[in-house]
Amino acid sequence: MKKAIVIFLLAVFGFFLAVTFLDPDFEAERNHNGVKNFYLDKTVSQLKTANTVTAIVVNFRGFDTLGEVTVLFLAATALGSILFKKRHHIGDRTVLMPASSIVSAGSKLIFPAIILLGAYVFIHGHLTPGGGFQGGTIIATGFLLMLIAYRDFSISHNVLSVIESFAGIGFVTFGLLGFMNGGTFLQNFMGTGVLNDLISGGVIPVIYILVGFKVAAELTGLIYTILHEKG
């Protein structure tokens, strides 16, 4: 009965959504240009950043990214707070089964490669697809792999916390430096170099690398926390 009602309601809702989005008018009346072309132009001409998405994420809408990093930071902190127990058993990961030796050995082999890949992705964030978030996440998956493969693999929470804090402070500080040098928060105050060079885009790669560190540390910490959780 409940399901029938829900399905009916969803059908009505879906109808409205479909009427909205599938209507040809929705395409016809769209403003296709808006801010898009401006961003594409300025990315090449002023920021000298190949990857427009990176330019938007770090520069044009860098404030969003600051918020986003904060959300991750909050999520990691919240996880610790929510799962907080008086007595904390470190290194007691009974959640997952012990890994077979193939997995362990393979993990050890693949771990440096993953870290390298992650670093590559966020260092080249302004040139190729990817960037701080993606690279950071990839590094975090590397640590995840090690955590699963080796039951006694442990990372110091303090180290993670320090990395995380320094990266975050770096982000805000660069924003504030822009504030002092260029007049606005997150202003690109460094020389932008030549398009498609590794050292180009001014402050963008620096910030994205900081974001990468921060995301990597946060996600690793987050997984570490939840992995140590016993039911």
């Binding site: 409940k2 399901k3 829900v6 399905i7 309601l9 969803l10 809702f13 879906g14 959504l17 479909a18 989005f21 599938l22 395409e27 296709h32 801010v35 898009k36 072309n37 961003y39 594409l40 132009d41 990315t43 090449v44 190949a50 990857n51 427009t52 998405v53 938007i56 994420v57 044009f60 809408r61 969003d64 990214t65 918020g67 986003e68 959300v71 991750l72 909050l74 999520a75 990691a76 919240a78 996880l79 929510i82 799962l83 190729t128 697809p129 978030f133 398009l195 498609n196 995301v215 987050l222 939840i226 959780e229 039911g231």
Partner: protein
């Protein structure tokens, strides 16, 4: 109906369906984990919708490789991509918090059925 039109309708339609399927899970499934799965399906649908908005006919990725500086007109809209990037990360954060809450709830109630977890009411 040309190809772009078909892609558009397909992508929009699928995202709407994903949203509805996710909502169905949120509204009818009793397991907390199922509800969170539903929420992440909704998120997926919305991300797809957002990417679909930015897509244009025969578009290319908004990345300038050497020699492609004049391809601006054919590039897809980068703004929705940036938004989705942010939204995915935020969605992950919320999901992580939700799952940790689930673990807490299980610790106290020893069940994951949402209709058995209602000590706070009225």
């Amino acid at each position: 109906m040309d190809t772009t039109e078909l892609i558009r309708i397909g992508v929009y339609g699928t995202s709407i369906l994903l949203i509805l399927i996710g909502l169905y899970a949120v509204l009818t499934k009793r397991s907390l984990i199922k509800i969170i799965i539903g929420l992440s399906i909704i998120d997926g649908g919305i991300h797809l919708l957002l990417i679909g908005i930015g897509y244009i006919k025969d578009g290319t990725a908004p990345i300038f490789s050497p020699g492609s500086e004049n391809a601006v007109a054919r590039m897809v809209d980068p703004v929705p991509q940036a938004l989705v990037l942010t939204a995915i990360v935020i969605g992950f954060g919320v999901t992580a918090v939700a799952l940790s809450l689930v673990i807490r709830l299980y610790r106290h109630h020893n069940t994951l059925k949402i209709d058995e977890i209602k000590n706070l009411k009225w």
